[in-house]
């Protein structure tokens, strides 16, 4: 019983406060299988493999402290017993804030414990096949509102405020005087040091010194830190520090720098010679210096990776194995009738006939070694209608145009006229028959872009009258009177920032400023569920490619994984330091990518909630993400107008596409992955040769181990086409199954 309480407590706490996130790996609380249709659920085999045990232990201790404080002695007892944690140990850990225990806690135990919490709280006799997917609470200790004063107390030791400028300029002079090869690397220190020193001054009420310090050195910082500096420059009082997210981020996450050993030695020697304790302390406490052996990196190499709010990702972070392969397609017998040929003839235009091999042949191939196990996460079973749809898909794909630099796609642009309300989100169904738009006036509108009109299901009374045995029962349940080209869905109370169709076209998700995600039925055109949990604007949501699951991300800096039949999230992906702006499912549904205002992209494992990749390099908030159809690559677009390409398997940046002049709001790979289309606020659609971009990557061993990349500047060669619209920002892009590109946006009359 106590456990149940705990679960609720934690949830409440987590709901009320914006979770303050301390670490990335965080606690991995995996559950064990419950009875389900897939009896071989692999969830049990999910130990927190990647995450160090020490962290687990710390987390546990934090949980214990929390429970204690809330006078939940029973739970404390149970937890301590389960975790096998000695009281003394806990105490010693607790007093020593920075941790570093022996790490003898069995992660598995802890997991099983907390999974029980989730079992009871979820209390779900699911009809679906899933096991009770567990709550992955963000570092529970952190949930307990981190006392700002505690966080900041690190700043309390102070030197002479007037000497700060001297210290900083001393370091600056030193770095400018070192050899060129080291200078670029050591220059990375400037920004974090600058910020920490400034905050230290502010914290200790040296307002004037702080201002002078800012005046003097803010101009030296890299231009991509502009936005942060703007926030900083407003901070001049100790009182302001309270509740300022940026500050907390700086304090709570250590700024990560990658520096070669030589450069680091150089720096260390210098600081020790000068007895420059002030700076040394900051480096020790607030920075994480990731030292590698080998050649120092060049300026351009550093620049391409830096820019995020918390420095680069640590190298270890991107080492975890990611199963980026695709799942095996289910075997479906395709009735090979002559319908195909008829359709071919109807088309009139002689299209290139496709060879048979890429349509059906590939399906029977052996499974990709990089693919996750078929049942790594439980997936919904295919319904008959899904199978029909798959067959349709295969048929269509045989007629697909093979794209390439010589064969660019046609683009059909759907312009929203008279959208005074402001179009904020668009989505197409996979078969391109429906289009949904989210508007700033809280409405969601659904259009049929085919001649087939949208119809509601008849009312219950009328449905009773229907002969349920008839063959066309599915047709009969529809009410012809309601047929129209578009339907409006009312329900949200704020701008709708994200919409997503379910793969079976029966549902629509929308996320809004009002903090909810709503699930709509496209049969009745009514709202089915409102998923509450974010409590702050939800910027994006997306259905899993297999349906059932969906992910959402919002201003509360976490992304959540939901299942449509649970009113609470199954996973909370916490780790971003700022708003989660966009969320995308990997094609195999085992991973979720999130882009954030902190200028990083993270890849999360749906199975255990781990963050398995951190990609840094963008210089602005990320507003669009797209996985390549083969699951190997990720493209991301941000406000800086650049598209970056990432190799998921190696965890490396592999390309940079420059050309757009404004925020990129939409990215999409063609069905075969040969072409990447990007749509932007600058009213253009651009097509890029993604095949070439991926082919040209040389990933030698050195690159793979150190993560040093050398990007060829070949955006111009990769750019295949630029298409201007008159005054319509491109909000969404979609490739039909035959590789026709659909674009959508609202006409902007100014």
């Amino acid at each position: 019983m106590a456990a149940v309480q705990d679960g609720q407590m934690e949830l409440d706490a987590e709901k009320e406060t914006k979770p303050e996130i301390l670490s990335d790996g965080t606690s991995n609380l995996s559950g064990n299988t419950a009875s389900g249709t897939l009896s071989s659920s692999p969830l049990t085999a999910a130990p927190a493999g990647g995450a160090p045990k020490m962290e687990d232990q710390q987390t546990l201790i934090a949980v214990l402290q929390f429970l204690k404080r809330n006078k939940l002695t029973d739970s404390v007892e149970i937890l301590r017993r389960e975790a096998g944690l000695g009281e003394d140990q806990e105490d010693s850990q607790a007093t020593d804030g920075s941790g570093g225990g022996k790490g003898d806690v069995d992660g598995g135990d802890a997991n099983s414990l907390l999974s029980r919490v989730s079992i009871t709280s979820a209390a779900a006799p699911q009809s679906m096949c899933d096991s009770p997917l567990m709550f992955m609470l963000s570092a529970a200790g952190a949930d307990d509102q981190p006392d700002v004063s505690v966080v900041l107390s690190a700043y309390s030791q102070q030197g002479d405020p007037s000497l700060y400028q001297v210290y900083y300029s001393g370091l600056k002079n030193f770095i400018e005087s070192v050899l060129d090869c080291h200078r670029a690397e050591l220059s990375q220190l400037f920004y974090p040091l600058f910020v920490h020193m400034y905050l230290e001054l502010v914290y200790n009420n040296h307002e004037n010194e702080a201002k002078a310090f800012f005046e003097k050195f803010s101009g030296d910082q890299e231009c991509y830190y502009q936005d942060d500096l703007r926030v900083l420059c407003g901070l001049t009082k100790k009182e302001h520090l309270k509740g300022n997210e940026v500050l907390l981020d700086f304090r709570t996450s250590r700024f990560v720098l990658r520096i070669s050993r030589d450069s680091y030695q150089l720096l260390k020697r210098h600081l020790q010679e000068r007895h420059n304790n002030q700076i040394w302390n900051i480096i020790q406490e607030h920075l994480y210096i990731d030292i590698f052996d080998g050649m120092p990196r060049s300026k351009s190499q550093i620049d391409s990776m830096s820019g995020s709010l918390a420095g680069e990702g640590k190298r270890e972070v991107n080492k975890a194995k990611v199963f980026h392969g695709l799942l095996k397609e289910p075997e479906i017998e395709v009735p090979l009738d002559d319908e195909d040929d008829e359709a071919e003839n109807e088309e009139g235009k002689p299209k290139k006939k496709k060879t048979k091999k890429d349509s059906l042949g590939s399906k029977s191939k052996k499974q990709d070694p990089n693919a996750p196990q078929q049942n790594r996460i439980p997936l919904p079973e295919l319904k008959d209608s899904d199978k029909l749809d798959k067959i349709m898909y295969m048929k269509e794909s045989t007629k697909r145009i093979r794209l390439g630099p010589e064969n660019l796609p046609s683009i059909c642009f759907y312009t929203f006229l008279n959208a005074y309300q402001g179009l904020t989100a668009v989505d197409f169904t996979d078969d391109s028959s429906l289009l949904a738009g989210g508007f700033a006036d809280s409405t969601v509108r659904v259009w049929s872009v085919t001649p087939k009109k949208l119809r509601k299901v008849k009312s219950a009374a009328d449905l009773n009258m229907i002969d349920k045995e008839s063959d066309d029962v599915l047709e009969r349940i529809m009410d012809e009177k309601t047929a129209s080209e578009s339907k409006i869905l009312y329900g949200h109370s704020g701008p709708v920032y994200g919409v997503s169709f379910s793969p079976d076209r029966n549902y629509l998700l929308s996320s809004s400023e009002d903090g909810t995600v709503r699930l709509w039925s496209l049969l009745t055109f009514t709202c089915l569920v409102g998923y509450k949990g974010h409590n702050y604007p939800v910027w994006d949501t997306q259905f899993s490619p297999f349906g059932y699951y969906f992910v959402s991300g919002g201003h509360d800096r976490v992304a959540r994984l939901w299942a449509t039949d649970h009113y609470q999230p199954l996973r909370i992906f916490a780790g971003h330091l700022a708003d989660v702006t966009c969320t995308r499912f990997h094609p195999n549904s085992n991973y979720v990518a999130t882009g954030s205002t902190d200028r990083t992209i993270r890849l999360w494992d749906v199975l255990n909630g781990n963050c398995v990749r951190i990609f840094t390099g963008h210089k602005g908030p990320i507003h669009s993400l797209a996985f390549s159809p083969n699951g190997k690559f990720l493209a991301s677009g941000s406000t800086d107008g650049r598209v970056l390409l990432w190799d998921i398997g190696h965890g490396l940046m592999i390309g940079e596409l420059k050309g757009h002049t404004d925020t990129i709001y939409s990215l999409k790979f063609s069905r075969d992955g040969e072409i990447l289309a990007s749509g932007s606020m600058d009213n253009t659609v651009r097509l890029w040769n993604s095949m070439k971009a991926f082919d040209e990557v040389e990933t030698d061993d050195f690159t793979a181990t150190t993560g040093h990349i050398h990007l060829p500047d070949n955006s111009q060669e990769l750019l295949l086409g630029t298409y201007h619209s008159k005054s319509t920002p491109v909000t969404h892009l979609h490739f039909t199954r035959r590789n026709l590109l659909l674009a959508a946006g609202a006409y902007n009359s100014q």
Binding site: Q226, G234, H240, N418, G422, P537, S725, S727
Partner: protein
């Protein structure tokens, strides 16, 4: 750079006076200076925080403009009650009201009388959101439809043509520049690095009718071998040259007028990078200025007007395209002067030369024409007073004389000091002196009358435009006096200035012009159809009697069919023109009837259509 940045990041703090004012507004009378300062710092910080949050909402709303709604949402994030009553879609002007030595910002809210609101008729219900699909690109090429922006920005065309080696971006490539690109490709192949994409020419930019039409034209003009060239819009320029040649040979005045108008339309089109085709265009235009004979009956037809118009075109192109590298103006001037100095030059050519020079500006008139006045005067005198040589010569001399007087008078009026003595003029300018003197006097009077607003005095000013079509239909009898020609109709040459404040002037015909343009614009396509059918055997023109009433049926026919082809393909309209070339026997009729009011305007409208932004969306949203 660093300096600027620091400037930008400097923390701005609200003045303490604002704090005081706000405190007063909520009833706090006396506020300590210290608390004011503390408050203002705090408030400034909070405002910045909110602004930064509001920015997020703007980004996610996919807008570039921050709205009051964004700020409300940002306040909501902070658990602050949003501000009510500040909804505004548009930008809120920052106004100051000064009073009591302080400047205050205020939000303008007028008092509204409720009865006013009740009594005013309801505004139109705004249109609902609608979805419209169009092709942004077809197989990688952007079709030239009104939904898409004009094909290529001029600068792009310029870089394309001037620097063909620079990687040409596909999708923006234009068939017309393929030749230059071809060269680029060959040299690029030598480099072995750059792969130029030579897409197979796609023909969807032209409709089937257009292609047919081009074929007809080219076949009629230059034979089938050139038909291939007609793929692109810009290739019209080639056609011009041929057509001009052919028509000069055939002395088809009406067609030449059309062609010149086409040139004008091309020049007025801001989206075309015509520099590439100047070498094709200019000879054609010059031909129309100086050709010895432009029509079959030079004594009756008003080919002078054509020369005037072409001269003006020439001047315009000199003005817009002349650069230090191509030296168009000086080359043209040389050509004209050479012809002018030649004694054997015919009157027609002479007229053209003078017209061409005169249009180039006052300086040219002053340096090149005025010194020649006495010589020309003598020549004119010889024709006028001498034995009757031929009527044609006489008319020519007459025209040259009036032209000289017209252009020189204004220049002389400006340059020559008062008083205007007839004798002195005679001494200076010979035979023309007397008349010039009177013209100069008139010009001076007019200049004074028009309150020095006139930049360029044309003596034909007082012709009101609407009458043009009428006078034109009044057959060719008017050719003797320099009647306002057909060509004057699109009087929007850049040199012309709208002259304000002259009572005799017709009001600037802008509005009328548009109305006519729309009606005729749609009609022009209709013409295509009728004319092409006339090609096939039943000439439409023959059914139209060349009487003043002949205009009626034509107009009717057109307006009846406006819906046939929507104006989606404005380029078609250029084509209308050159059709009757095959039937040279009809040109008398066509010269008098056809060109009057419909076609010039249709040309204009074609250009207008091309330029107009977002036609569909606009009509929807209004």
């Amino acid at each position: 750079m660093a300096e600027e940045r620091r400037q930008k990041l400097c923390s701005v703090i609200l003045p303490t006076e604002s704090m005081k004012a706000m405190a007063e507004s909520v009833g706090v009378g006396s506020l300590q200076e210290d608390s004011c300062l503390a408050l203002s710092e705090e408030v400034s910080y909070r405002i910045k925080e909110i602004a930064q949050d509001a920015l997020k909402f703007m980004h996610h709303g996919k807008r570039r403009k921050l709205t009051t709604g964004d700020i409300d949402h940002a306040l909501k994030l902070k658990n602050v009650e949003p501000l009510y009553g500040f909804q505004s879609q548009e930008f809120i002007p920052f106004r100051f009201a000064s009073g009591g030595g302080r400047e205050l910002h205020f939000y303008e809210e007028k008092e509204v009388d409720l009865s006013d609101i009740i009594n005013t008729p309801l505004p139109r219900v705004p249109l609902d959101v609608s979805l419209k699909a169009h092709w942004l690109s077809i197989d990688g090429v952007q079709p030239a439809i009104p939904e898409n922006p004009p094909p290529v920005p001029k600068e792009q065309q310029k870089t394309d043509s001037t620097e063909p080696l620079k990687a040409v971006k596909p999708g923006q490539e234009e068939e017309g520049s393929i030749q230059t690109k071809g060269q680029g490709a060959s040299s690029a192949e030598v480099k072995g690095k750059e792969k130029m994409r030579m897409k197979p020419r796609s023909t969807h930019e032209l409709s089937v009718e257009q292609q047919l039409y081009y074929k007809e034209i080219t076949e009629a003009c230059v034979g089938s071998c050139e038909a291939k060239r007609a793929v692109c819009v810009c290739n019209k320029c080639y056609l011009f040259l041929f057509q001009v040649r052919v028509n000069v040979v055939q002395n088809n005045l009406a067609l030449l007028i059309y062609l010149m108008r086409m040139v004008k339309a091309l020049m007025d089109n801001p989206t075309l990078y015509l520099e590439k085709y100047l070498h094709e265009l200019i000879p054609a235009v010059v031909t129309c200025i100086v050709s010895k004979q432009l029509c079959l009956r030079p004594d009756v037809d008003n080919h002078w007007a054509l020369r005037d118009f072409a001269a003006r075109l020439m001047a315009q192109s000199c003005k817009t395209f002349s650069t230090t590298t191509n030296n168009i103006q000086s080359r043209i001037t040389k050509t004209f002067t050479k012809a002018l100095l030649d004694d054997k030059t015919q009157w027609t050519t002479r007229y053209g030369c003078i017209a061409g020079l005169a249009e180039l500006g006052h300086d040219v008139i002053k340096t090149l024409i005025i010194p020649r006045l006495s010589v020309e005067g003598a020549r004119i005198k010889a024709v006028m007073d001498g034995p009757v040589v031929s009527n044609i010569d006489k008319i020519g001399a007459d025209h040259v004389q009036s032209l000289l007087l017209k252009h020189c008078a204004s220049v002389v009026a400006k340059t020559r000091p008062l008083p205007d003595m007839v004798d002195q003029y005679k001494v200076d300018y010979g035979y023309l002196g007397t008349m010039l003197c009177s013209h100069v006097v008139k010009a001076r009077a007019q200049a004074a009358f028009q309150a020095q607003t006139v930049n360029r005095t044309t003596l034909t000013i007082t012709q009101p435009r609407p009458t043009l079509s009428v006078s034109q239909s009044g057959l060719s009898t008017s050719s003797g006096s320099r009647a306002p020609s057909i060509i004057k109709v699109p009087s929007s040459l850049t040199l012309m200035s709208t002259r304000p404040g002259t009572p005799t002037q017709p009001s600037p015909p802008a509005t009328k012009y548009i109305v006519m343009a729309t009606s005729a614009g749609a009609a022009s396509t209709q013409q295509v159809i009728t004319l092409s059918s006339s090609q096939s055997g039943s000439p439409v023109t023959s059914t139209v009697p060349s009487t003043p009433t002949s205009l009626q049926p034509l107009v009717k026919l057109e307006s009846g069919n406006t819906g046939a082809v929507s104006g989606s393909r404005p380029l078609q309209k250029y084509i209308v023109v050159s059709l009757p070339s095959s039937s040279s026997s009809l040109e008398n009729k066509s010269s008098s009837v056809l060109p009057s009011s419909t076609s010039p305007i249709s040309m204009e409208s074609a250009v207008k259509l091309e330029r107009s932004e977002s036609p569909a969306a606009n009509t929807q949203s209004h």
